[in-house]
Symmetry: C2
Subunit: 391 residues, 2 copies
C-alpha cells in the first residue's frame, strides 16, 4: 500500500473529571483551543478542512441525535466538513484512524480529530452504560461492562494462576502515574490493600479494579507530512493502524484468555508500521478494568500469554520498567470519557515521543508509541494506532 | 490533490417499507447479500477488508449503543475493520465518502459501505425524530423536522412567488417515479389535488409534502479502481465529494431561501470532480419535504435561484426532463430510513450510469450522476457525492 504520510502537529486534552459546569460544546471547544495552543509554530483555526468527532452519545445523553455536525459551529469553524465517528470505547482511536486516512488519501491536508463525552449528567440508570448493551432483551440482560469483563479475569486466574494482587497492581501503578498527570480525573496514589478491600462489583473485580465515569474532551491536529514543517520542527507521524471486530456476545467468544479483536488489530497495525512489539517504547492501552490491561499487554505482544499479571506485579510496565504502560494514568486513573479516551491516549503518546511528558517521561529508544482501545459489548472491536518520531 | 481512483462495483437496497418482521441485523444482511449478487463477475465476501456502517440510531432505537461493530458478525464477516458513521440525514452519503477515502488512501482495497435504519419499531413519541432535535430544552422545544423546514417554504413563497401547487408537483413527480421503483416504500401515483387536500402538518407543508417513516437498508462495494476489472467490465467511479456544515439553529441561519451547507458542499464536490451542474445527467437529492427538493435543485445549480418551484411544475425535473431528479421516487415515495437513504441514492445513481434503471432510465449523455443529502437540525450539514461512468 502507498499512502501519503500523516503528521500529528498538535494534541491536547482538557482536565478530565466530573464537569457538570461545562456543556458538551464547551468541553469540545476547550480541547480544540488547547490543541491549537500546542502547535509549536502557531495554527490558524481556519486551516481546518475537515473534522472527525468521536462520541458515543453526542450532546443529548440518552436522547442522542446529532453529536458531530453541531460541533464546528461551537468551535467557531462552521462550514468545514464534519463527521461523527462512533465505535463504542474505541470511538476516539477510530476517529484518529479515519482522520489519518482522510489525510493519507490526499483529499484533505489539515484535519481535526476531536473526542468528547458527557458521562456524568445523567444517573447511572439513565446513563450510557445501562443503555449501551446491545442484544437480546432477556438473554443479555444485566450484561453491564463489569459483567462482560469479569469472566476473562476468572478464566485468566484459573488458567495462569493470576491473583487479585496482580490485578490490583495494575490499578496501583496507573494511579501512581495518574498522580503525576495534571489532566487525570484521579490524582491520588492507592495501595494494593486498598484495591483488595474496595467494594466488590463483579467477582473478581472490585471498585478500584474499575475505571470511573468521567467527562472529558481531547483533540489532535493531523496534517499532510509534506506540510508538517509549517507547523512544527518536532512532528510525530502516523506509522500504522489496525481495526478488528469479533463476535459481540460472550457465548460466541472463542477464548476467555485473550481478546481476539486486540490480537488481530495489533497484527494489522504492526504490519502497516513495519515494527513489532519489541520496538514500542511506551503504550497507552485499554484498562477499563485491571484484567483488561493484563490481557492487552499479552495480546499486544509485550509479555508472554499468561504472564501479564506477574509482569504487572513485578513492575515491568511501570514508567521506568521494560515496557511502560499507561503512563497517563490510563482509564483507571485518568478516566474514560468514551469518545475522548482514544484521542487523549494519542495525546500522551505524542507527548512521550516529543519528550514532553514531564514526570511521566519514558526513555524513547526506538521512537515508537502504541495506543489501543477495545470495546463494543466488551471485546467486540479493537483499534490500535502506532505513532513514531522517526522521519 | 492526488488520490487513488475508487470504483463502485456493487450496489443494492432491500425493499423499503414498514419492516417489523426484520431485525436491524437482518435488514443489513439482506442489503449485503443483494450487493454481492449485483457484482457482475461475482464477489467473495471474505474480500471485504473494512466496513463503514451508516446509522442514526443503531440497533436499539432510543437506547442506542453500538450500531456499527456488531454488524460484521451478522453479515458472516466478523473480524474485519468496522466503523459507524453518523451524520444525521446524510449519514449514508458521508459513509460513502469516508469509505471512498479509505480506498483512495491506499490503506484498503475493498470496502463495504452499508446503511441501515429501524424507524418504525417505536412510537413517534419514543422514536428518533422526537429525540434527534439537539438544542436548548425550552427555546428549541417543538422543533421537529417539519418545523425546521417550513420557514424555508414560506420565505421561498414570499420571495419568489412559489405556490403550494409547485411544492405539490414535487411530490406528484416523485410518487410517479416511485411507482416505477420496485424498492420504493410507496408505489402509488398521486395528484396535485391529493397533496393540497392532505392533512396540514406545519404550514405550508401538508402530509403528502412530507416523507414517510420507513425501515430499510442499502449497501455498496468500493474497490481500488486498479482492481475494478476483477469485479466488472462496467464500473462506476467516484468523481468527487464534498461536505459542509452550517450553524445548526434556525436563528443562526444567514438565509431562508437557500441551504448554505448544500451550496458549499456542492461547490467542493464539483471542484473535486472537475464538472459543473450542466454535466450532471441525473441526481438523487434530499426531498424530505417538497420544499427541500426545490431548494436543492437551486442550491446544486440545476435551476436558477427562485425558479425551482416553476421548474418542478413544468416537468423540468421529470425522468424525461432537462435534469431528472429523484428517479428512484426520492425520500417522498421511496422512503427515508436515515442511515440507508444516502447509500440507496448512490445505488440509484449506479443503476442510472450503468443503464440498469428500467422504466426509470434517464438518457446518460455526459456520464455523471449526483447524490445529495442535507440534515442535522434540518440544514446543519450537507453531503454531495458525484459518480461517473467515464474512465
Amino acid at each position: 500500500m502507498a499512502w501519503n504520510k500523516v503528521a500529528v502537529v498538535g494534541a491536547a486534552l482538557i482536565k478530565f473529571g466530573e464537569l457538570f459546569e461545562q456543556s458538551y460544546e464547551q468541553m469540545a471547544a476547550g480541547a480544540f483551543e488547547s490543541a491549537i495552543a500546542s502547535v509549536d509554530k502557531g495554527f490558524d483555526p481556519a486551516q481546518v478542512e475537515a473534522a472527525f468527532v468521536a462520541t458515543q452519545r453526542g450532546t443529548l445523553w440518552g436522547q442522542e441525535g446529532i453529536g458531530g455536525n453541531t460541533v464546528p459551529s461551537a468551535l467557531g469553524i462552521s462550514g468545514i466538513a464534519c463527521t461523527r465517528i462512533e465505535n463504542a470505547c474505541p470511538s476516539g482511536s477510530d476517529a484518529f484512524r479515519v482522520g489519518a486516512m482522510a489525510v493519507a488519501s490526499g483529499v484533505h491536508d489539515v484535519v481535526l480529530v476531536i473526542g468528547v463525552e458527557k458521562m456524568r449528567d445523567k444517573s447511572a440508570e439513565e446513563g450510557l452504560l445501562s443503555r449501551a448493551a446491545a442484544g437480546h432483551p432477556i438473554f443479555t440482560r444485566g450484561e453491564t461492562a463489569p459483567v462482560l469483563f469479569a469472566p476473562f479475569a476468572t478464566r485468566h486466574m484459573h488458567e495462569f494462576g493470576t491473583t487479585r494482587e496482580m490485578l490490583a497492581s495494575v490499578a496501583v501503578k496507573n494511579h501512581y502515574n495518574g498522580a503525576r498527570d495534571p489532566f487525570a480525573h484521579f490524582q491520588n496514589e492507592i495501595t494494593i490493600e486498598e484495591v483488595l478491600k474496595s467494594a466488590p462489583v463483579c467477582h473478581p473485580l472490585h471498585l478500584l479494579d474499575c475505571c470511573p465515569q468521567t467527562d472529558g474532551a481531547a483533540a489532535v491536529l493531523l496534517v499532510n507530512a509534506d506540510r508538517a514543517e509549517e507547523f512544527t520542527d518536532n512532528p510525530v507521524f502516523v506509522a500504522g493502524f489496525g481495526v478488528a471486530t469479533d463476535h459481540p456476545y460472550l457465548h460466541e467468544k472463542s477464548t476467555f484468555t485473550a481478546m481476539t479483536a486486540t490480537t488481530a488489530a495489533a497484527e494489522r497495525a504492526y504490519k502497516m508500521a513495519g515494527v513489532g512489539p519489541d520496538q514500542i517504547d511506551s503504550a497507552e492501552v485499554h484498562d477499563c478494568f485491571t484484567i483488561t490491561e493484563i490481557l492487552d499487554i499479552e495480546d499486544l505482544g509485550f509479555v508472554e500469554k499468561g504472564k501479564g499479571g506477574i509482569a504487572s506485579l513485578e513492575g515491568e510496565t511501570a514508567i521506568n520498567g521494560r515496557i511502560p504502560i499507561n503512563t497517563s494514568g490510563g482509564l483507571l486513573a485518568k478516566g474514560h470519557p468514551i469518545g475522548a479516551t482514544g484521542v487523549a491516549q494519542i495525546t500522551e503518546c505524542w507527548w512521550q515521543l516529543r519528550g514532553q511528558a514531564d514526570q511521566r517521561q519514558v526513555e524513547v529508544r526506538n521512537g515508537y508509541a502504541l495506543q489501543h482501545n477495545v470495546g463494543g459489548r466488551g471485546s467486540g472491536v479493537a483499534v490500535v494506532n502506532i505513532l513514531t518520531n522517526r522521519r
